[in-house]
């Protein structure tokens, strides 16, 4: 079976032919090889490849899996359209940008008001979580359309804090 995989952004082809824990595979231009793959704990895989032993940990991500091997972290996405929707994009270069809370926390300071013009990278609000204050910045310049929260308010991760246009 053949898949279009994307590893840390780079698209490649993966041919895999599984027989239980044994598998034959071809990764990109590499020649066909054999490997043995066993899930030893939920999300933890022991892989034997050409006599080498690898332990890989898999975590689900957005449209992808995060795979950690020997301290290296890889973002792996199967771009096979039958299974995965195209990536969301999250508003890069969009006309509007929502500044969202990167973590749950409390709004300790709002640094702008509607109408203010802001530069790309400028701090919009300060969120406190785990005794640390963190400035939420805007990626694009423009002016502030709306500020959705008040100081002292507690917000969930992902809450829209302000909108820049």
């Amino acid at each position: 079976m053949t898949f279009d995989v994307e590893i840390d952004g780079a698209a490649t082809r993966l041919e895999v032919d599984r027989d239980g824990e044994q598998c034959r595979f071809r990764f990109g231009p590499q020649p066909e090889r054999r490997a043995q793959l066993t899930e030893v704990e939920p999300g933890v895989y022991s892989v034997l490849l050409d006599g080498r032993s690898y332990e890989a940990r898999a975590e689900p991500g957005e449209d992808c899996a995060w795979i950690t091997i020997r301290g290296h972290r890889f973002r792996v996405a199967i771009t096979d359209p039958r299974r995965w929707l195209p990536k969301g994009g999250g508003g890069h270069g969009a006309e509007r940008e929502n500044v969202v809370a990167a973590m749950p926390g409390k709004i300790v300071r709002v640094l702008v008001k509607p109408g203010d013009s802001v530069a790309a990278g400028q701090g919009i609000l300060v969120v406190e979580a785990m005794k640390m204050q963190n400035e939420m910045k805007t990626r694009r310049g423009g002016h502030v359309v709306a500020v959705a929260v008040r100081e002292g308010e507690t917000v969930a991760a992902g809450a829209v804090l302000a909108t820049i246009e």
């Binding site: 793959l37 940990r57 795979i67 890889f74 792996v76 299974r83």
Partner: protein, 500 residues
């Protein structure tokens, strides 16, 4: 010795104190806020008292509630741990008033040493060098220049009302002082409505080295050697070691700094555990900064190298027992390093990363010590600081300890929340760190120069293979008894989206 002790703290330090209490056969009373009902320190304690809602101000910082809890549970003493009320003189006094033993120095010593200026004067009186600085505002640029010449350039102009770098200027020579003074003063005026400026010697690329002290109520006080804590981010220590690589090269420093610290503590009539913090410049001059009148987060590295249990010593001293150890009996063996494992995302501004710990693998084997306040399945609350655990290693030499820490970090896996484990793993490979050439700016310099992880095509192939095996499984997750795993998948996705 006490029969029962209340621990006015939470997280890893509460757990660590419970362990020594157990070993001494003393009952342990934990306190907890709403957010901490299922926290490890509550699970491990013999008794537990609820002291209020999640915000510290309404629970762990409420002196009355803590003292009531101690009374209700019949505790005879209170261990404050670090942070929270550990350096609060009122709390120490309130314990005395309530007939409870505060496991720490006297309220008076805390007052004396707790504030920077009195402590600084005490140090000067004890003949211990401090960072040279004017004790009052400069009348004018001329007086500032006089002082700068005396202590030598570079100097720092600081706003008396100062803070946050406003009204601060670095000056490298006479010629620049006049203009810098004007700029600083006007900036201070604008920022604080107060133009007053004073001068302090600037110590470039200093090391942060501290001395562990232990004194009893009979006036016998000794030093247990130094810890180097130069690796800091946002002025927060993240990695500590004993011995200091600098002191290893210049052994007389341990004695000199130790004796200086003891002199200060004596002058303050200090007892229990305490730490004197010093800045050390390139010429190995050390300057007293301040005294921490409590157990330090990083005390394990001292315990690993000296073989002592500092909490046990604190308890014995608090119970009035004399400190039996003589200075000459203290031995330092090998080298220890500690990493503070935080719930934070090093790849995204070190933003905090609270959430549920789905999976937790801890390193084992020779020379490993873990002080942890978490367990798999527990949700890290966002109400308190993000310290999950302290990973410490001991080995015969610093070089071997570094190798062991790398091995330990590679064995350490926390799934479900982001941590700084990978960041430490990279830092351990840094040449300057390896050579032990540490200073308080090293971490920021490293963050600027840290290499992009190289992508081994072999590992990529394995990652692809595993990813392909793991991903299809996911859709079925909810049905196959890995519901939690799946649920968290959504949470993770949520975060990914925001952070991209």
């Amino acid at each position: 010795m006490f029969r029962k002790v209340l621990i006015a703290n939470r997280g890893e330090i509460a757990v660590r104190i419970i362990r020594t209490l157990r070993e001494m056969g003393i009952g342990a009373v934990a306190v907890y806020s709403d957010a901490d009902r299922t926290s490890l320190h509550v699970r491990m304690a013999d008794e537990a008292a609820h002291v209020g809602p999640s915000p510290s101000a309404e629970s762990y910082l409420c002196i009355d509630r803590l003292i009531d809890a101690a009374r209700t549970h019949g505790a005879e003493a209170i261990h404050p741990g670090y942070g929270f009320l550990s350096e609060n003189a009122e709390f120490a006094a309130a314990c005395d008033a309530a007939g409870l033993v505060f496991i720490g120095p006297s309220a008076e010593s805390i007052r004396k040493m707790g504030l920077k200026t009195p402590a600084r004067e005490l140090a000067i009186a004890a003949g211990v060098p401090v960072v040279p600085g004017m004790q009052h505002a400069a009348r004018d640029a001329e007086e500032a220049r006089m002082f700068a010449r005396d202590c030598g350039y570079p100097v720092l102009l600081k706003a008396v009302a100062g803070g946050g770098g406003k009204g601060m200027r670095r000056v490298d020579g006479d010629e620049d002082l006049g203009s810098a003074f004007r700029d600083a003063a006007s900036e201070a005026e604008r920022a604080f409505g107060n133009a007053a400026i004073y001068v302090e010697k600037l110590i470039e690329r200093p090391r942060h080295i501290e001395v562990q002290l232990m004194g009893d109520r009979q006036g016998h006080i000794i030093y247990l050697g130094e810890r180097e804590c130069s690796l800091q981010r946002r002025h927060q220590k993240i990695m500590e070691e004993c011995p200091s690589p600098l002191v290893s090269e210049h052994p007389e420093m341990r004695h000199d700094m130790g004796e200086a610290a003891v002199r200060i503590a004596r002058a303050a009539g200090y007892h229990s555990a305490g730490t004197a913090e010093f800045l050390v410049d390139a010429a190995r001059n050390f300057y007293f900064l301040e005294m921490n009148t409590r157990l330090q987060v990083e005390h394990p590295v001292t315990e690993l190298v000296t073989g002592l249990d500092l909490v046990r010593l604190q308890l014995e001293i608090a119970a009035g027992e004399p400190l039996r150890l003589r200075q000459e009996e203290i031995g330092w063996r090998g080298a220890a390093i500690e990493c503070r494992i935080y719930a934070e995302d090093p790849d995204n501004h070190f933003f905090p990363s609270p959430g549920r710990i789905q999976h937790l693998d801890r390193p084992l084997g020779p020379g490993i010590r873990i002080d942890s306040g978490v367990y798999p399945g527990w949700t890290v609350p966002l109400d308190y600081d993000p310290l999950l655990a302290k990973l410490a290693v001991w080995a015969g030499s610093r070089e071997q300890a570094v190798a062991r820490m790398i091995r330990a970090l590679d064995e350490c896996h926390i799934v479900g929340i982001k941590t700084n484990i990978g960041f430490f793993r990279q830092l351990m490979e840094d040449d300057q760190y390896r050579r032990g050439e540490l200073h308080t700016g090293l971490v920021d310099e490293f963050l600027a120069r840290r290499p992009a992880p190289e992508k081994d095509p072999e590992l990529q192939a394995v990652a692809a293979l595993v990813g392909q095996a793991f991903l299809p499984a996911r859709s079925a997750l909810k049905d196959n008894g890995r519901g939690r795993h799946a649920a968290s998948a959504w949470r993770t996705e949520g975060r990914e989206q925001l952070l991209q």
